[in-house]
Amino acid sequence: MSLRLPTGGRIDRNRTLTFRFDGRTYHGYHGDTLASALLANGVKVVGRSFKYHRPRGIFGAGSEDPSALVRLGDGARAEPNTRATQVELYDGLVAYSQNNWPSLKWDISAALGLLSRFLPAGFYYKTFKWPGKFWPYYEHIIRHMAGMGEAPTDRDPDRYEKRHAHCDVLVIGGGATGLSAAKDAAAEGNDVWLVDEGIPEAPANVTVMARTTAFGKYDDGLYGLLQQSSSDQAANAPRQILWLLRAKRVVLASGAIERPLVFANNDRPGIMLTSAALRYLDSFAVRAGRRAVIVTNNDSAYEAARKLIDGGIEVAAIIDQRHMAERHEIAGCEVLNNHAVIDTAGRGGLRHVTIAPLDVNGDAVPQAERRIDCDLLCLSGGFTPSVHLYSQAGGKLAFRDDIQSLVPDTDVPGLEVVGAANGDDIAQASAAIALSHAPGKQFIDLQNDVTAADVALAAREGYRSVEHLKRYTTLGMGTDQGKTANLNGIAVLGRALDKPMADVGVTTYRPPYTPVTIGAFAGRDVGAFLAPTRRTPMQEWHEDNGAVFVPAGMWRRPHYYPSPGESPSDAVSREARMVRQGVGIVDVSTLGRIDLHGPDTAEFLNRVYINGFKTLAIGMCRYGVMLRDDGMIFDDGTVARMDEEHYIMTTTTANAGPVMAHLEHYLQVVWPELDVHLTSITDQWAVTAVAGPRARQLLENLDSDMEFANQALPFMGWRAGQIGGIPAQVYRISFSGELAYEVAVPAGHGQACWEMLLAAGKALDVIPYGTEALTTLRVEKGHFVMGPEADGRASADDIGLSGMLSKRKDFIGRRSLRLPALAPEGRLNLVGLLPVDGKTAIPPGALILDRATAAPEAEKAGHVATAVFSPNLDQPIATAMVINGRGRLGAQLWAHSPLDNRIVPVEVVHPVFIDPKGERLRA
C-alpha cells in the first residue's frame, strides 16, 4: 500500500496536481500541503540545517514546524525559507531545498559536522581575532555558511493590500474552542470575526477568515492579521492582505503546540511530532511512515497510537519515559514504561531507534539498550499553550508543573484566553528530557542547530539568564521562533543550573507570530504611492514645456527650463540673467499661505514675528521673521493685511505645515484668550512671481482693471482686481532684488493666468525660470533662506537681522536672546564670499579655514552655505556662515573641500552683491 490512503482526508482526489521538488516531478491532490504531498511521495529529506547542514525533514504540520523550509517558486516569485507545511499545493508548483551545495544529497558543508566539536555555541567570539586584518575574510566565509535561503533578485511582481476593519469580537483560532466561542458571540448579536491559519469550519453569522494569521497585538485593540490568498484566487487579486483589525473584545483560542523530546540524533528525517503524524493521516490521508515508534511523557500518546493504527500505520512500540506503576495496554503494540529513546540511526531517513530503561535519576542505562526498527518516530513531549498574543498584550505567565508549561496567569483587559491556549484539557506530562550519554547531538532547536550540550555550555560559561542563553546559542531565534524548542531549552537550562523550570523564566514574545512578508507590511505604499506628491496648478504646463524638476518637500518644482542643446548651468545662468535684464516668471504656488481671521490677529502676529505688525495698513504687506522659543530662526515670509480683521500669511514651502502647527500651538495652548482663526489656503491659490526691470511693463500689457504704477501699487503694497476676467490679487513683493510682483489667482485659473502672463510678456522676451535661478538671484541679493543659511542653529543676529528685532514688544524666542550662548561674540555670521582670483568656483559645502592647509587641529572659521555662479557679476559668489564674519569683511580665508581636493582662497564680503540700496525693487 502506498503512503496515501485510498479514502479519507480533506483532499479532492478528483483534482490531481503536478508539482516539482528539486527538479523531480511529483503528484498530489487539491487540498494537500506541499509537506503532505512530499510525504505521500515518500520524500523525507527536504533541506539542510543552518549550522551543521544536517538533513532536515518534515517535523510538524503547521506553523510550528522548524525544519521543512524550502524555496518556493522561481525568479521574481521565488520565496525563500517557506514552510512546506503551510504551502497549499497548486498545479505547477515548484520548490527547492535550501542551504546545500552542490545538492541536497551531497552537501559539501555537511563535512562541517566532522568539525562540529570545535564549533560549539559562540565559537566565533573566541577566535578569528587574529590577525585583525583577516577578519573580513573570516567574516566572508561565516556569512556564506550562514543565512538560509536565497533572496530573490528581481522586483516582486505581486500586489499586496492593506485593510482597516472593525469588529466587536475577534476569535483567534478555529479549533473546537474557538468555533464554539465564535458561535456564542454571534448568537449574542455581535459582529464576530474568526481567524485561523488553516481552513476552519464556517459558522453562520461569523466572518470567517481562513489562511489568516493573527500575527501581532498592538495598542488600542489593534490586531495585525495576515491573510494569504488561496491558490485558486483571481489573477489580479492581491497575494496577501494585511488587515489592521480593531476589535472591542478578543478571544484567544490559539490551541497548544506539541513538544518534542530530547535525545541523541533526534533530528533525523522521519522523526516528527505525533500531532503532525495525526494531522497527515486525518487531513491528507497520508501515512507519515509505515512502522512507527512513539516516544512520550504523557497520556496523549495512547489515543494517538490508536488513531495511527486505525490509519494503517504499524505502531511497533510506545516508549513512555514516565515511571508509572501501571502500564497502558494497546493491542498490537509494545508499551514500555520508564524507558527512553537514546539514539536513532538511518541515512536520509530513519532505520531504527535505540531505547534503554531509565535509572532512578532519570538517566538512561546504556547496558540495557536495544533497537527497534521503524521509519517513523513520533514525539509526544506534552503540549505548550500558544500564548504568544496574550504575552504580547502584556499578560504574565505562570509555570504549571502538571503540564510542564507556561500558562496565562493575569487578566488582560479585552482579551480572554480559552481552550488549550489557556492550558485547559491538556494531558499531564513529565519532563521532556531524559539524559542519555550517547555521543550524538541532542537537538533542541532544529532550525538553528542548538543542542543540549550548547545549552549546558552556555550555563557553564555564565550565560545563565534565559535571555543570555538565547543570544549566546541562538536558541529560538530562527524563523519558527522556537515554537517547539523554547520550553525544552528552559528545561535543559533548569537542569544545568539546578533550578526548577518555573524559576528559569521565558524569553520575550514578540510579533510577528509567524513571519510576515515585507511586501504585505508595505502594502499599497509602493511605487508612486510611497509618499504623496503635490502638484501646483501650473504643473502640467511645466511638464509640457520641458522643465527639469527638483523635489521640494512633497512637491516637484521646476528646477530650470533648458532650451534645446543647453547645459543645465547655461540654462540657469540664462534664466537668472534674463530676470535681471528683462523679466521672468516663476511658479511660487508651493509657498504656504495661511488665512488669519479674527479681532486679535494683529496682536497675534505681533507676538509671532520678531518685528512689529500692529501698524500694518490694509492694502500693505510686511516681511517678517519668526523664531522658535529657543531663539533660533524658524521661518520667514510676508503678511498682507486684507481687511480689518483678516490677514494672509505666507511661509516657506518646506515649513508650511510646521508653521501652521506652531501657530495653532501658541494660539490654543499658550494664548487661548486670543480670538484668531487659521485656515490653510495654500491650495486655493495659484501664485506666479513676475520679476525683472520689465515686470511692470508686462503687467501693464495685461487686460486688467488694476494699476501697477509706483504710486498706485507701491513696494510692499497689494491690490485686488481682475486679470482677463479672472479675479486676482497682486502683491508687490520681491525676493530677487528686482522690481517684482506676485500674482495670485484662484487655483483653477492658475494655468490660464500663467499663460496670460507669458503672452503679455512675449514682446518683452519674458521667460519662465526655475528654483535654481531663484537661488542664484537671492544669493546675489544676499537673502538668506531656511536650510543653507538658517539651519535651525542660526539666530536673527547671526543672519544680520538684529535691526528687525523689535524692542517694544515681546515675541516668541525673544527671551532666549539673553542666554549666554546667544551673545554675538564668536557666533557664525552670514557673509558673502568672492574667490580671490575672481573666477574659481567656490565649492559648495566647503569649510572655511583661516589658512591654506588643513592641519587636523585647524580651527574652523565657518562653512559655505550656498555657492552659485552669478551671471550678473560674471563670477562665482557664495553665502557663508563665518565666525565673527561681519567683523572680517575684506579678510582673506580659504574654502576647503577635501571631498574633491579643492582649496579656494576667498575674500569675505558683504552678503548683498547687487543693489545694496534696494533701488531696483522700489523702481
Binding site: 521565488a78 581575532k129 509602493v526 566647503a846
Partner: protein, 418 residues
C-alpha cells in the same frame, strides 16, 4: 581565566568543552565600593573596564537591574560610524571608531566589528549639498568620507534601485568606509569579561531604587539587594537616565522614547554594507547570520514600554521595498523596541552633574551603540579624575544651562523630531 584563541577552542573541543570558565563571576555585592556604575549595558561595562584598565581602579562594581546587555545594547541595529558634522560630536565618535578598530584584540573577545561601510543616500541636490558639508567637516576632522554620485552609489550597493522614475530617486550619497556593524551582544559580554578579569564586580539582578547623598555629595545606593556604599556613582542607564538622576534630585533635558527595529528571515549574503534611505527614515544592513536588520524613526511619543506600534514598521517596509524591490517577498521575523533617552538637542550628555560624586552618561538618542568604547573611555576618565576628558568637554549637561546646545539637525528642543 583562560584566553580565547583558536588553540584554546581546539583544546577544549577535545575535552568536550567541559572546562570553560564563566566569562564573568557572579559575586555578591560588597558593602561599599570606590565607584559604582549603574547600568550593565555596553556603556556601563566599558566604563568599568576602562576605569580598571586605564585608571587602575579595582574596587568598583557595575549594578544591573536585569541581565547584562539587556537594555539598548541588546536591541540596537548595531551601526557604527563617526560621520558627524559638528566638532563636539565628530572628535568624540572618531575616537570611538579608533577603539573599535582594535577592540576584539584588546578584549580578547571577537566583537565581529565589520567595516563594511555606511552609505547615507541623498535624494536631491539639496540633500547632497548638506552631505557635502558634513563630509568636508569629517575630512577636516581626519575622518574618512567620500561623496558618491549616483553611479558610484549603484556600484557600491548592487541590487539597489537607482532608477530615475521612482518616487525618491537616488542622487548619490555620503560614504564612510570605515563605518559598519558589530555584534552587539558580544560588545557587552566582551567588556563584562574584560572588566571582571580586572576585578570589577558585575552584579546582575540588582536594581537601584535610590541614591543617598549628604552635604558633600553621594554616599551610596539603595538597591533591591540592600544598600551599597559608593564614593562615586556613574549613571549609564540609557532610557532611564531621568529616573536615576531624579533619585539624586537632578532634572535632565531628556525624554524617553521608543525606537523599534525589525529583522527579516535569514538569507544568504545579499547586502554587504549599511545603507540609509535619505528621503524617509530607514537604515538597513545584513547581519552575519543573514537577517536584514532594519531601523528608522522613533514612534514619536514618550514611552517606557519597550515595544512600539505598526505604523513605523509599515513605513520601514515601504522604504525597504522602495530601495530594494526584490526584498518584498522576504519576511519579517521579529520586531522589538528599545527605550531611548532623547535629548533636547539630539546629542549625548557625558560628564559631571550638580551633585558631587554623581556622573552622568546618557542621552544617546538613536546612536549610542557606536559610542560604546569612546563613551566608556571618557566616562572612566571623568569619574576617575572628576573632570571631563577633552573629548567630552562639549557634551556636558551644562550646555543646556547656557543654551550652547549641540544640535546636529537644527531641530530645536523637540526630542521627537531629532
Amino acid at each position: 581565566m583562560s584566553r580565547y584563541s583558536l588553540a584554546s577552542l581546539v583544546r577544549h573541543g577535545l575535552t568536550g568543552h567541559r572546562d570553560w570558565q564563566p566569562a564573568w563571576r557572579d559575586p555578591e555585592p560588597k558593602a561599599s565600593y570606590d565607584a559604582v556604575i549603574v547600568g550593565g549595558g555596553g556603556h556601563g561595562l566599558a566604563s568599568a573596564y576602562y576605569l580598571a584598565k586605564n585608571h587602575g581602579l579595582n574596587n568598583i562594581a557595575v549594578l544591573e537591574k536585569g541581565w547584562l546587555g539587556g537594555g539598548n545594547t541588546g536591541r540596537n541595529t548595531t551601526i557604527v560610524r563617526s560621520n558627524y558634522m559638528l566638532d563636539g560630536n565628530a572628535k568624540f565618535y572618531e575616537h570611538g571608531m579608533k577603539l573599535w578598530e582594535g577592540l576584539s584584540r584588546d578584549l580578547n573577545f571577537n566583537v565581529m566589528f565589520s567595516q563594511r561601510g555606511v552609505l547615507n543616500l541623498a535624494h536631491s541636490k539639496g540633500q547632497l549639498e548638506t552631505f557635502r558639508r558634513r563630509g568636508n567637516a569629517m575630512r577636516l576632522n581626519g575622518i574618512d568620507a567620500e561623496l558618491l554620485n549616483r553611479d558610484q552609489a549603484a556600484a557600491f550597493v548592487p541590487g539597489m534601485d537607482v532608477s530615475r522614475n521612482v518616487r525618491f530617486p537616488v542622487e548619490g550619497g555620503l560614504l564612510q568606509r570605515r563605518g559598519g556593524t558589530a555584534r552587539h551582544d558580544a560588545v557587552a559580554w566582551g567588556y563584562a569579561r574584560g572588566a571582571d578579569q580586572r576585578g570589577v564586580d558585575i552584579i546582575q539582578n540588582c536594581e537601584v531604587t535610590g541614591i543617598r547623598r549628604d552635604q558633600h555629595g553621594v554616599t551610596g545606593l539603595e538597591t533591591n539587594r540592600g544598600f551599597i556604599g559608593a564614593k562615586k556613582i556613574g549613571l549609564a542607564v540609557a532610557g532611564h537616565s531621568t529616573q536615576l538622576a531624579a533619585m539624586a534630585g537632578v532634572r535632565l533635558p531628556i525624554e524617553s522614547h521608543v525606537l523599534q527595529a525589525v529583522v527579516s528571515e535569514p538569507v544568504k549574503p545579499v547586502l554587504d554594507t549599511v545603507v540609509t534611505f535619505g528621503a524617509a527614515h530607514l537604515y538597513v544592513s545584513q547581519s552575519d547570520k543573514g537577517e536584514l536588520v532594519m531601523g528608522g524613526d522613533i514612534d514619536g511619543y514618550n514611552s517606557f514600554a519597550q515595544r512600539g506600534n505598526l505604523p513605523v514598521i509599515e513605513h520601514f517596509a515601504a522604504c525597504l521595498v522602495a530601495l530594494f524591490p526584490q526584498y518584498s517577498r522576504l519576511r519579517i521575523l521579529r520586531n522589538w523596541g528599545g527605550i531611548m533617552d532623547m535629548t533636547m538637542d539630539g546629542s549625548p550628555i557625558i560628564g559631571t552633574t550638580p551633585v558631587p560624586g554623581l556622573f552622568l552618561n546618557g542621552g544617546w538618542c538613536y546612536g549610542g551603540f557606536k559610542a560604546t568604547p569612546a563613551s566608556g573611555w571618557v566616562f572612566a576618565h571623568t569619574i576617575a579624575t572628576g573632570q571631563p576628558h577633552a573629548l567630552n568637554a562639549e557634551l556636558s549637561l551644562d550646555r543646556f544651562h547656557t543654551g550652547r546646545v549641540l544640535d546636529e539637525k537644527g531641530a530645536g528642543p523637540y526630542p521627537w523630531q531629532h
